[in-house]
Amino acid sequence: MKLAEVIERLGLEVLVPGDLGRRVRWGFCSDLLSDVLAHAQEGDLWITHQRHLNVVAVAKLKGVAGVVCVRGLHPSQEVLAKARKEGVTVLASAEDAFEVAGKLYGLLSP
């Protein structure tokens, strides 16, 4: 499913658009950066509570489809500027990680 459609179906707020035409492979939930580096796959939508600068670096390194900041947490302008520069999609949801992941699973599971 295309990222733009996932955003619409999940009602996500777009903080940094990046490439909305990308295909979302699957989801990945983690707040541990090394865990994401080790186990997330390219094209995954990364659901996290982390919102500092290194999130952008990790997202870029792994080529995730985007980062979803949950529970109403928003990254700083500095982080968003970095994401813009790197072309990393940053999304936000007022819902918690469980709800966002559950809905995404419902969308993507066969």
């Binding site: 707040d31 541990l32 950066l33 090394s34 865990d35 580096l37 080790a38 996290t48 982390q50 500092h52 600068l53 290194n54 999130v55 952008v56 670096a57 990790v58 870029k60 390194l61 080529g63 790197e86």
Partner: protein, 157 residues
């Protein structure tokens, strides 16, 4: 093991003991590797190795440096720092072991996967440390056969 081929590119990056600027070297290393036409899978692995190494220097040491060497057949990343050093290297290679302080864990560091991730994404990985002096890591990633490859690649690749 065949001797390393001539270095096509070499650059030294200082790394400060400061999380704010951490991540910059790995971004730059990826950019350089891509511009040199290094294979995407090698760029991906080198990016992860570099990021984890950079974070370790920023989080745990008094600062250090990363040297990137690109050769015809491999990419090498050399990490060195000015201490405090690691007493038990086998222990830090164990997934889940971490000495990260609480503040770093809250930022998502300290999963105890940094060094295992570096090792997993390297074809050769060597680590030396002396307590009170510092730690040196050499991570080698072999480039997969490409057009200029004479079929004489390193073993295990």
């Amino acid at each position: 093991m065949a001797p390393a081929t001539k270095a096509l590119y070499k650059q030294v990056f200082p790394v400060k003991s400061d999380l704010e600027s951490a991540g910059k070297v790995s971004t730059e290393v990826r950019r350089i590797l891509r511009s040199l036409g290094v294979e995407p899978e090698v760029v991906r692995r080198a990016g992860i190795v570099c990021f984890e190494g950079e974070m370790n220097i920023a989080l745990y040491t008094k600062g250090g440096r990363i040297i990137l060497i690109v050769r015809d057949d491999r990419v090498e990343l050399l990490f060195s720092d000015r201490g405090p050093g690691i007493a038990d290297i086998d222990l830090v290679k164990q997934p889940g072991y971490s000495t990260a302080p609480d503040w770093a864990r809250e930022l998502g560091f300290g999963a105890g996967m940094g060094i295992p991730n570096m090792e997993a994404n390297s074809d050769r990985f060597a680590m030396y440390s002396r307590v009170g002096v510092g730690t040196v890591i050499r991570a080698t990633i072999f480039r997969r056969c490409h057009e200029t490859c004479g079929g004489n690649r390193a073993p295990g690749t």
